[in-house]
Each structure stands twice: as structure tokens, then as C-alpha cells.
Symmetry: C2
Subunit: 191 residues, 2 copies
Amino acid sequence: MEFQKVDGRKARGEKKRRAIVEATLRVIERDGVTGVTHRSVAREAGVPTTAPTYYYATLDDLLIATLLWSAEELCDEMLHVVATGSAREIAQCLAQAVDEHRGRTLAEYELYLLAGRRPELKPAARRWLDLAVELARPADPTGFRAFLAAIDGLLIQGLIADVAPNEAELEPIVSFLIRGRDELTAAPREE
Amino acid sequence: MEFQKVDGRKARGEKKRRAIVEATLRVIERDGVTGVTHRSVAREAGVPTTAPTYYYATLDDLLIATLLWSAEELCDEMLHVVATGSAREIAQCLAQAVDEHRGRTLAEYELYLLAGRRPELKPAARRWLDLAVELARPADPTGFRAFLAAIDGLLIQGLIADVAPNEAELEPIVSFLIRGRDELTAAPREE
DNA sequence: AAACTTATGGAACACTTGTTCAGGTAGTTG
DNA sequence: CAACTACCTGAACAAGTGTTCCATAAGTTT
């Protein structure tokens, strides 16, 4: 009756919803978007076969929810480093993304491609780009866009290299690019 | 009997093989790798349901063959422009890739991601990068790698933009990047 | 504690999938 | 023209898919 009191049933439901989304992300990391089925997700999450269907009307909804959530998470992690970190920090971040977090990075780029075919995903896929621009407020937008594009390219090319590039290899390239971010950004920002 | 005479049956088979691969690429362009099934490919190619299975033992083999072939084709088209073209030419090429050839570009990046999970596809996915380096022979490899990375990034980001970027938007960015290719490449090459 | 609402899950259905296989067909050879 | 061989295919199957449906369990309210 208190206005704060939420229905315990709904609370439990929310928890399960989240567990399902997390399980879906694990499946994508392991097997790609192709590997996502109601059943594979249910197995991974340890819930009944019909639970994913119950919480997400269609398989598409589940995928979309998962990738939106994933994109948001990744944004928080990477954004600050990319927008304000040193070349060394950025290189380290990239090296991790294509090595330890390889599965996660692959999943992230599957979102990109999916967004290419599903307009409703575009904002989520583009979110880190928009936020990066907002955060860095570069005085030279052209150079900054080149920098951001190169980050995507380095990651994706890192994923198909025979051996993932390490921090030492990436740093000079990042340094070269970072000019587009810093050259003029260093000027005092007034807002 | 002449040593040139090939079995007419085999010749016909080769033609069908190619038709199947081309149909597969069309399916990928339209529906993505997910949409590729023996049956969808057969429908698209106008061949019997079992033909794809006959020519390619497994669905994976079919996908691999298609993507190898596609990568090779794209290489021939884009490579020269990217390695030696002017900023304007490159920008025009990119603008086309994310607009008229959008489906094809999407398909190409699905190859990238697939290669991330199937090591045997890596060489094919990486081919244009290797060839570009060989063709441009940049004196500044770092800048050139940054340039190549940015091309991938611009394409992929172009695919998820609300409206595909046009030549005019892309040209300044390419100009900014192309320094890494031309700055020192212009020096006389001796070999 | 009875009435009510909401979340949940097992069984089932219609459908599509990859793949197999025995027979037929077309091209080649003697 | 007959024998041969390699290529090809339609029907069929087992397995897995997304989704529906209703009985039940769990929680809330009166």
C-alpha cells in the first residue's frame, strides 16, 4: 500500500529479465548473433525454455534489448579513455579490446552491422560517437572524426590479425591520429 | 580426346558453382549472413534445393567460398583508388560504398566479423590491407596504417549514420588522413 | 483465509533447417 | 548404338526452431 512498495512479483521479473539479457550477451560473445535462439539463451541463463519468449515478445526484441544494453555498458567503459586519455592509455585500451575482451568487441561490432540493417538500432550503435564528440569538444571536428573513425578501424582490423596487435604497436598509430583530437582541443574551452 | 577438351559435364558444373556463389552474395547483401540457408540460396540461384549441398559439402564451405570470392572482387575494385587516388576520388569511392553499394559494403563487413571467428577467413579479409600496403609502399607506415584504419572506420560509421555521408562531407576527412599516405610516399621510389 | 491478479513453465504445434540417398539424366567412350 | 561413368536431383528424415496455450504457482488485497 505504501507508494514505494513495488509488487514483489514484478521485482523478481525484472531480475530475470536482466539475467536473460546478460545470458544473451554471453551467447553472442561466444557464438555470434547467429547462435542466439530462445533455447540457447534459456540454457545459458538457466531458465525455462519459454522464459525468453515470455519476457521478449520476439527474438528480435531480445536481440535489440541485449545490444542496446551492451552498447550502453561499453560506452561507459571506453568513452572517457578515448575522449581524454593519453596515446598510451588509448593504445592500452585498444589492445585489451582485441585481446582479453575480444569476444565482447566482436559482439559490439555485430551490433554495428545489425544497426546497418535495423534503423532502430542506429542511435545505440552511434551513441559512443556522439558522446565522444560532446565530451572532447574538439575545435577541429574534421581531425577528430578521422580519429574516431580510425579507432573503429584499428579495432576491427585488430580482430582479423593473425596475432592481436599489442599496446606497443598501437601507440605510435594512436599518437599520429591523436593530433586531430588535441591539436586544437588544448585551447581553453569556454562554455 | 584432345588434351584441351574438358568434360562438358564438369564445365557446366563450374558454371553452376559460380552461379550459386553469386546468388549467395546477393542473399547476404539482402538479408545478411543469417539469411543464408541452402534453400534460400537455391531459390535465389534458381537451382534445385540440394544443389548448394552438392557443390559445397557444408553450409560453412559455401559461406567461405562466397566470402573469399567477394573479397577478391572488391579488392580489385577499390584497391587502386585507395592506394593511389586523390582525396576527392577516395571520398567519392567511400560515398558510393555507403550509398549505392550499401548492401555490398554491409556484406563485406560481415566477412570481417566472420573472419574474427573463423581463422581460415582471416587472410581473405585482410587481403586488401596487405595489397594496399604493397601497392602504395608508404615511407611512413604508421601514418599509412592510420589512414587504412580510418577508411574502415569511415565506412562502418557511414553505414550506421541516419543519412549516408556524401562526398563533400568525406573529402576533408580523407584529406586530413591522406597525409599519412602521401607525405613521404611522394619521394622517388627506386626498385 | 478467500478472492483475485500476475508471473511462470511444460507440453505441443507447425514450420524450417541441414543433410542423406537411391535413382535418373546427360555427356563420353568403345 | 550400346556400355559406361560422372553429375545431378527430388523425396524424405531427424533435429531444431519460434511461438502458442493453458494449468499452476506465487504474490497481493480484501
